[in-house]
Structures are given as structure tokens and as C-alpha cells.
């Protein structure tokens, strides 16, 4: 088998995975059995597809083969056990494939994938376990790949996933078809989980950004998949737009030495125009529904940045308004802090500082609060106070990139406060 053949098959298996594992999970009602069945079907695919050519519907093929192999397994190991209904092993796959594809009607297919995604975002699972589990069972990344993206050892990741699976099994999986309310709750949980995956990649520091980029790409793939299943959900459009617009900037976000480059200083010619176009198109679609929500608002803010070909062209007044709207639907001191940056551009640093002063008790341990506060104070010429704020920010920095960025401000402060020759 040539390398090109293998690559083709692997892509087909990856793209069919959520649907196939989702259907096998519905059938077997057990995650491990479903995964194993899928794995066995993949092994068969690797053997037969190069000779017989690709099946017309790879997902249907994998579901059927996975089911048959698992049923054979049951038959071998537990001869006394009654078999599940519909246990006819189908020998001529090509003929049966079409019929099975017919049976996988739209709503089943949709709920299968949603269920598979939903069991990963069980509220009892901490965020990192949710992400790891989703990457393992929905995306099908190997433990090794996930461990690499999380910068932990394979053994630690294996343990994390095993623990997450145990919790999911304990909690029990909802197999009945969800009602409308239940479905929309699941959808919201899954959207949040996809955004977590994205942020896990996006919040990487410069030296790890390249390694963690697959997390962002996987989040985009899952968001598009979810949107294809629920094409009229404006918040899913908003989520997809938001992560596309953020990821579009990835080539411009870090300097060669790994330091973070802020939006204002980024080389906008490095932004990915196609991703921006897709993000903007999705916002346009979402807006038509006149059902605003946090993802749409954040995407609209990202869109205003994306539309500005230079930082000066940014519509800060509109961004201020959008953050105001976000404060209403999702009140949080961090949102207000972000809004303050827009306010500083529209109404000056004093107005911005007034806005964030009341946040001090809530954000006393938040790196960005002191970074932003220091920047406003610096703009007001209150350099001593600015320096104190920046020092505090460095002490609270989570990554070396964050600390390095604040140090740059500090250096500028020190430089500017030194006596200069006129006109220098």
C-alpha cells in the first residue's frame, strides 16, 4: 500500500469517526465497546479499502462492519448469551451499505453525534478532562497526540482519560432521543466544550503555540460539524465565526522569539483572509436571526477587528457598545475589563480607569487587570503607579510570554522617564 493510500484512508476514517462511533454507541450503549468496534472496523478498512476501493459511504460501512465484528465477538465469548436483534451478519457489504445509509436518517445521525459530544462535557468533569475526552473519543486523536498538545506525559494523559471515562460511565449516558429543551441544553454544553478545546490551543504561549495549534484546528472542525447538524442555530454560527476569526490571526500573534504580539502591533497581512471571510459570512448569517447571544457578540467584536485593515480604522465605539451588550448577557468583571480597553480608545484613559477601579477586589489576582491598569496609568503619565501595577502583573503572569510582554511596557516606561535630548 502506498503512503498516499494510507493517508487517504486515514482522512476518511477521521472524518467518519464522530458519526460512526456515535451510532455504535447508540447500538451498544457502552463507550468502550463502541470504540473497540470502531477500531476493529478501521483495521478491516485498512485491509480491504486499498483492494476494493473506497466504499460509497465510509461511515455506514464502518458502522456495519463494527457492529458485525463486535457481534461475532460476543458470539465467540458468550455462547449462551442471547444476541442482540438484527444479528444477521451481512456478507455482501456493497449491497447492504446503501440500505443501512438509508436507515441512518438525519435525526438519528444528528443526535448520535450530539450525544457523543455531550457525554464529554459532563458537569462533573473538570475542563481539562472534558477536552481530553472529546479529543480522544470524538476526534479520535491518539493519547500520544493529546499528551503532546497538553505538554504532559503519555502515562499522565492515559490516566486522565481513563478517569474521565470512568466518571462518564458512572454518570450514565442518556440514550433516549432528547426533547427540544434537552437538545438545546446539550447543544449549549457542547458549544462550550468546543470553545474550551479552542482556548486550550489558543492560549498557548509562543514556544508551544505550534504544538498546540492542532487543538484550534480540531475545534474548528468540530464547530463546523455541529453547525452542519444544526444549520439554523445562530449561537453555533457565532461560535464557529468566533474561533475562525481568532484563529485567522495565529500567524501574526507571536514574534520569532515567542513573545506575544498584541492586536495593535500585528502584521495584518499575515492574517488568514479565507478564514476571516468565512467568519464574517457566518456572523452575517447569524445576525439575520435577531437572536443575540454571547458567542455572536464576541464574534461581532472579533469581526470589527478583522474588518480594520489598520489598527486606526478599528471601530472602537461599536466595540464598546458590543462589550456593553455582552456585559448584559454574560456579566463578568473580565468582560468589563475588556470593555475598558475600548473605552480608553473612545473616551480616553481616565474614563477607562474609572470603569475598572471598582473591579479591583474581584480581579485582585488577575494578571490582565494589572497589565491593563498599568497601561491606562502610563497613558495618563502616572508612571510610578503604572510601574507598581506592571510589577504586580509580572508577579501574577501565567506564562513567560505574558511576563515578557509586561516587561516590555516597563522597559518603555523606564526609557521614557529618562531625560531625553530634545527632538530625540
Amino acid at each position: 500500500m502506498s503512503e498516499a493510500d494510507t493517508a487517504w484512508i486515514e482522512t476518511a476514517l477521521t472524518s467518519a469517526r464522530p458519526q460512526a462511533v456515535g451510532a455504535l454507541l447508540r447500538y451498544f450503549r457502552d463507550l468502550d465497546t463502541a470504540e473497540e468496534a470502531f477500531q476493529n472496523a478501521c483495521l478491516r478498512a485498512l485491509k480491504t479499502w486499498p483492494q476494493n476501493g473506497p466504499p460509497r459511504d465510509p461511515a455506514a460501512w464502518l458502522i456495519m462492519v463494527g457492529r458485525n465484528v463486535a457481534i461475532d465477538e460476543v458470539r465467540r465469548t458468550r455462547r449462551q448469551q442471547p444476541l442482540p436483534e438484527d444479528d444477521q451478519a451481512i456478507s455482501d457489504l456493497d449491497d447492504a451499505e446503501g440500505a443501512l445509509a438509508e436507515r441512518l436518517d438525519g435525526s438519528h445521525y444528528r443526535d448520535d453525534i450530539l450525544r457523543l459530544m455531550f457525554i464529554c462535557c459532563h458537569p462533573q468533569l473538570p475542563a481539562t478532562q472534558q477536552i481530553a475526552l472529546a479529543l480522544r473519543i470524538v476526534s479520535g486523536l491518539t493519547v500520544k497526540q493529546i499528551a503532546r498538545a497538553f505538554l504532559v506525559s503519555d502515562a499522565a494523559m492515559e490516566q486522565r482519560i481513563t478517569r474521565a471515562k470512568a466518571k462518564v460511565a458512572e454518570a450514565g449516558t442518556p440514550f433516549e432521543a432528547p426533547g427540544a429543551v434537552e437538545r438545546s441544553e446539550r447543544l449549549a454544553g457542547v458549544a462550550a466544550m468546543i470553545y474550551l478545546i479552542f482556548n486550550e490551543g489558543y492560549s498557548a504561549s509562543g514556544d508551544t503555540a505550534e504544538i498546540r495549534k492542532p487543538l484550534c484546528e480540531e475545534a474548528i472542525r468540530l464547530a463546523r460539524l455541529l453547525l452542519r447538524l444544526f444549520p439554523s442555530e445562530p449561537e453555533i454560527m457565532g461560535l464557529t465565526a468566533l474561533i475562525l476569526l481568532q484563529h485567522a490571526r495565529s500567524a501574526a500573534r507571536f514574534a520569532g522569539d515567542g513573545t506575544l504580539i498584541l492586536l495593535d502591533d500585528q502584521d495584518r497581512s499575515l492574517w488568514n483572509g479565507t478564514m476571516i471571510a468565512e467568519g464574517l459570512a457566518l456572523i452575517d448569517k447569524a445576525m439575520r436571526h435577531r437572536r443575540s447571544g454571547p458567542y455572536q457578540i464576541q464574534a461581532a467584536i472579533a469581526a470589527l477587528h478583522a474588518r480594520a485593515s489598520t489598527p486606526e480604522e478599528t471601530d472602537w465605539a461599536q466595540i464598546d457598545l458590543l462589550y456593553g451588550a455582552l456585559e448584559v448577557v454574560q456579566p463578568s468583571p473580565v468582560v468589563t475589563l475588556n470593555r475598558a480597553v475600548a473605552v480608553s480608545k473612545v473616551r480616553g484613559p481616565q474614563a477607562a480607569l474609572d470603569l475598572i477601579e471598582p473591579l479591583a477586589p474581584k480581579l485582585a489576582n488577575y494578571f490582565h487587570f494589572y497589565g491593563v491598569r498599568g497601561a491606562f496609568l502610563m497613558q495618563l503619565g502616572r508612571n510610578d503607579e503604572a510601574r507598581i501595577a506592571f510589577d504586580r502583573a509580572i508577579a501574577l503572569a501565567n506564562t513567560s510570554a505574558e511576563a515578557a510582554h509586561i516587561r516590555m511596557h516597563l522597559d518603555r516606561l523606564i526609557r521614557d522617564s529618562q531625560p531625553k535630548a530634545k527632538g530625540a
Binding site: T11, S15, R221, S232, T240, A281, L282, R288
Partner: protein, 122 residues
């Protein structure tokens, strides 16, 4: 005679390509396109954005806009336009105008990701 060559594939599959795989395919396609260009035979080439970015205008009275691509199989693709628009609303306005001139059927309105105008063909 001018021929339109319309590209069909499984979007999930193409969407699962890595950046490197995608670029490799585009590079191979570029070789074929360059040959046609040098012969003065290649017109516009477009790569459309994913169907998730599409909206569909059903040419009823009044026209109805639905999210997503045109999914029916009982009608056939009869033609297409490439129009420069500020946003989706403007594109839908154009589609409404066209629909008023020729009712029945539907227009799928899909943003274009990559566009190369190509040579002037007559």
C-alpha cells in the same frame, strides 16, 4: 465551446485534510491550471467556502431564506453568478432581484474563498 467543471466531494473528508495535505492538493491542481492558462483556455476558478457559510433563497412569493446549502435533489444546477457584495444581505438582495425576474427554484448563496478571474474567454 466553453465548459463549466463543477467540483463535488465529501466536505467532511476535505475538511479533515491537514493544512499540508490541502496545500499539496492545491499545488498539484495548480500544475494543471497553469497548463490551461498558458494555452489561454482557463476562465475563472473559484473555491467556495464550506456549506455552513451558505444560505439558500427559495424563489417563492415572498422569497424565503433558509440557512445552509441547497439540499434538494429534485432540481438540477443550471447556472451560476459571481457577484461582488458587501455582505450576505446585499448578496441576498441580488438573489431576490434575480428571483423576481425568474421565479421558481432556488438560489444558494455561498461566499467564495479563493477566486482567480482567469483569462478573457469568448
Amino acid at each position: 465551446m466553453l465548459y463549466a467543471i463543477l467540483c463535488y466531494h465529501d466536505e467532511d473528508f476535505v475538511g479533515s485534510w491537514s493544512k499540508e495535505q490541502d496545500e499539496a492538493v492545491m499545488k498539484k491542481l495548480a500544475v494543471v491550471q497553469e497548463k490551461l492558462t498558458s494555452q489561454g483556455r482557463l476562465g475563472p476558478v473559484a473555491r467556495l467556502l464550506p456549506t455552513t457559510a451558505a444560505a439558500t433563497l427559495r424563489k417563492e412569493d415572498p422569497p424565503l431564506v433558509l440557512d445552509g446549502p441547497y439540499a434538494e435533489t429534485k432540481e438540477q444546477l443550471l447556472g451560476f453568478y459571481i457577484v461582488d457584495c458587501k455582505n450576505l444581505d446585499e448578496a441576498l438582495d441580488v438573489a431576490r432581484d434575480l428571483g423576481a425576474a425568474n421565479p421558481g427554484g432556488a438560489y444558494e448563496v455561498r461566499p467564495v474563498g479563493v477566486f482567480r478571474p482567469g483569462g478573457n474567454l469568448t
